[in-house]
């Protein structure tokens, strides 16, 4: 099979991830199962953002909103006693798509600084909405006492089963996003990012394509939100905090924008970096206590000096 070197590396990474549960069990370190599952969930969110940010060139600062909507869809239904996973996750995707459509219809017409600020503002609006609804916990949030049920097909309470489900979804999303960006639709999106004036000149109007991409991206992130709330077993409006959006953007750029493996590499790098700064015993305590300071500096340095992201270090074709 003629696969590029990068694809082989990506497959190897996925295989490595698949080997984690048995390895963790063998070494008695269930913590890593948890950590990597979290990495994969954020990688899924990052894949969705990469679609519009990396390939589409739309600097959306509001992506955390969909994590929140997906999470709340699951949490709110559970709150009312509906634990059917199909329904919950279906609502997570559908609600996210609808909200993305509403926000996108207004914001996608704008560009540049306006687009950044508008997406940020709308996300913040949802955040405040979440805080003000006391019924669902206000700013304390809610616990998810019963995880999503899938009529016996899979038990999310089993860490390993849940892990493999997330891994399967990750692999699926990697494949889907790859096909999407190589399709006619994806090329138009990339073309509009590369040269908008030229695109109009040959007869393409970027707006409908960008809006569609925005909606698809939001919907996929909604699923990530549903996964996240099942992972943490609680949800708060903080899921939608704009700093969360910033983290997602960092994962995308850290990994390498407009690359297939970038989101996974970026999510892994950022979350592992945060974990290291907060807890690695080799580092002194004053690093642990104020890890955000060092993270901030590292992020600034990465932006200034490591533009191609981690995927830029992989061999293989330049996209």
């Amino acid at each position: 099979m003629a696969l590029s070197p990068r694809t082989w590396i990506l497959l190897a990474l996925l295989l490595l991830l698949a080997a984690v549960p048995p390895a963790a069990a063998y070494f008695g370190q269930p913590f890593y199962l948890d950590l990597l599952r979290r990495v994969m969930i954020f990688a899924i969110a990052a894949i969705s953002l990469n679609l519009i940010l990396g390939y589409g060139g739309m600097v959306s600062f509001g992506h955390a909103a969909y994590l929140g909507i997906g999470a709340y869809a699951v949490g709110v239904l559970a709150h009312y006693g509906i634990h059917n996973g199909w329904l919950q996750w279906g609502l997570a995707i559908g609600a996210s798509a609808l909200v993305a459509l509403a926000i996108g219809a207004i914001s996608v017409r704008t560009s540049g600084i306006y687009f950044i600020m508008i997406t940020l503002a709308f996300t913040q609006m949802l955040y405040y909405l979440g805080i003000s609804i006391e019924e669902y916990g206000g700013d304390d949030g809610m616990r998810l006492n019963v995880r999503s049920q899938f009529s016996g097909l899979i038990d999310l309470n089993d860490p390993t089963e849940f892990y493999y489900l997330v891994l399967a979804i990750l692999a699926l999303f990697l494949y889907l996003s790859r096909r999407l960006v190589e399709s006619r639709f994806g090329l138009v999106l990339q073309a509009a990012r590369s040269n908008e004036v030229r695109s109009r000149a040959i007869g393409l109007s970027p707006y409908p394509y960008r809006l569609a991409a925005f909606v698809i991206s939001g919907a996929l992130c909604g699923l990530a939100g549903a996964l996240l709330v099942n992972h943490t077993a609680y949800l708060t409006p903080e899921f939608m905090n704009w700093t969360r959006s910033g983290e997602l953007m960092f994962m995308v750029i850290l990994g390498g924008i407009a690359t297939t493996s970038g989101p996974l590499l970026g999510a892994a790098a950022l979350l592992l970096l945060e974990d290291v700064l907060q807890g690695w015993s080799v580092l002194p305590k004053w690093v642990h206590e104020h890890w955000q300071l060092y993270l901030g500096v590292i992020l600034v340095l990465v932006v200034l000096f490591a533009k191609r992201g981690l995927a830029g270090f992989l061999p293989g074709k330049n996209e």
Binding site: V59, F61, L120, M125, L129, I253, L295, V303, K307
Partner: protein, 306 residues
């Protein structure tokens, strides 16, 4: 719902409006002239609040605290511009967003290291505290009137600078056509630093004024920054006039909404429904307003670019 309450809330709205204006004026110029998305603007607001509180307590003189606080913020702003932001002017918006996002983390944590994470207590001197008897039965805090006064004075000063001085002319020219100004041989770097310093000083001023009213704690900048973004989007990027109009509108709508929406809804909905819907809707009000403005004027009310 009596007139005194309405008058009081109107003044509150005005006060919030001028505060937002102080923050928005500098930021909108930075957006418009340097095409720089600076998320760390809120950090300067925070620095202003902290430095002023510190110097006031250290020297015992409010006036000295204000002067040193403003000067300190200006210095921090300019150093940040020279060290971290200069390289970002040439970069695309994504890089700017992420780099200034990193700066926010850095500043918030730095403040936490120096002064801890808990909110610190910021006071106002006696000669500024107390209430003033206004028309009717309205007793309004003197300090808030001072803020309104300062804000309006700054607005007039800015109007003067922007429309009557050479610097202002360069600023207006730069906001509508950056490349042209550079091509005319103006020292663009110096202009940028001056504009940025201006913005930093205004942010610091907003911070020191707000200290006694709102909480002084790490992260205080980001809470208000989003509102500032809404102001700028509504007013139009690069326009000081837009910043003033937008700020006053946002300040009024937000304040009035929070004060009167719940009671207003209670007249048509059940009390418990109004209890939930009121605050929820009130917090979303300015964003809905922004959406409406954008639907009709995607460039804001007073866009500076032709």
């Amino acid at each position: 719902m009596n007139l005194v309450l309405i008058a009081e809330q109107t003044l509150n709205g005005l006060q919030l409006g001028v505060m937002l204006f102080l923050l928005a004026a500098g930021l909108t110029l930075v957006f418009g002239i340097m095409n720089l998305v600076n998320l760390a603007h809120g950090a300067l607001y925070m620095v202003g609040a902290y430095l002023t509180t510190y110097f006031y307590q250290a020297t015992g003189s409010f006036a000295l605290g204000v002067i040193l606080g403003l000067a300190g913020t200006l210095v921090v702003g300019i150093v940040t511009e020279l060290v971290a932001l200069r390289t970002l002017y040439e970069r695309d918006h994504l890089d700017q967003v992420l780099a200034t996002f990193g700066l926010i983390l850095f500043f918030n944590e730095l403040i936490a290291i120096l002064w801890g994470r808990a909110a610190i207590y910021s006071t106002i001197p006696d000669y500024l505290s107390g209430h003033v008897e206004l028309i009717g039965n309205l007793r309004y805090p003197l300090y808030r009137l001072v803020i309104i006064g300062v804000g309006l004075a700054v607005a007039i000063l800015l109007w003067f600078v922007v429309s009557r001085t050479r610097l202002g002319m360069l600023i207006r020219a730069g906001a509508s056509n950056r490349a042209m100004v550079a091509a005319l041989g103006i020292n663009i770097r110096l202009l940028y630093t001056i504009v940025f310093g201006f913005g930093a000083a205004l942010a610091g001023l907003a911070g020191l004024l707000s200290g006694p009213i709102y909480a002084v704690q790490p992260g205080m900048g980001e809470l208000v920054l989003i509102q500032v973004f809404v102001v700028i989007v509504i007013g139009g990027i690069g326009s000081v006039r837009g910043a003033l109009v937008g700020a006053l509108i946002v300040g009024m709508v937000d304040t009035m909404g929070r004060a009167f929406l719940k009671p207003a809804l209670a007249t048509i909905l059940s009390p418990s429904a109004a209890e939930t819907a009121g605050p929820a809707l009130a917090s979303m009000l300015i964003y809905l307003l922004m959406a409406v403005v954008l639907a009709f004027r995607p460039e804001g009310l007073f866009p500076s670019r032709g």
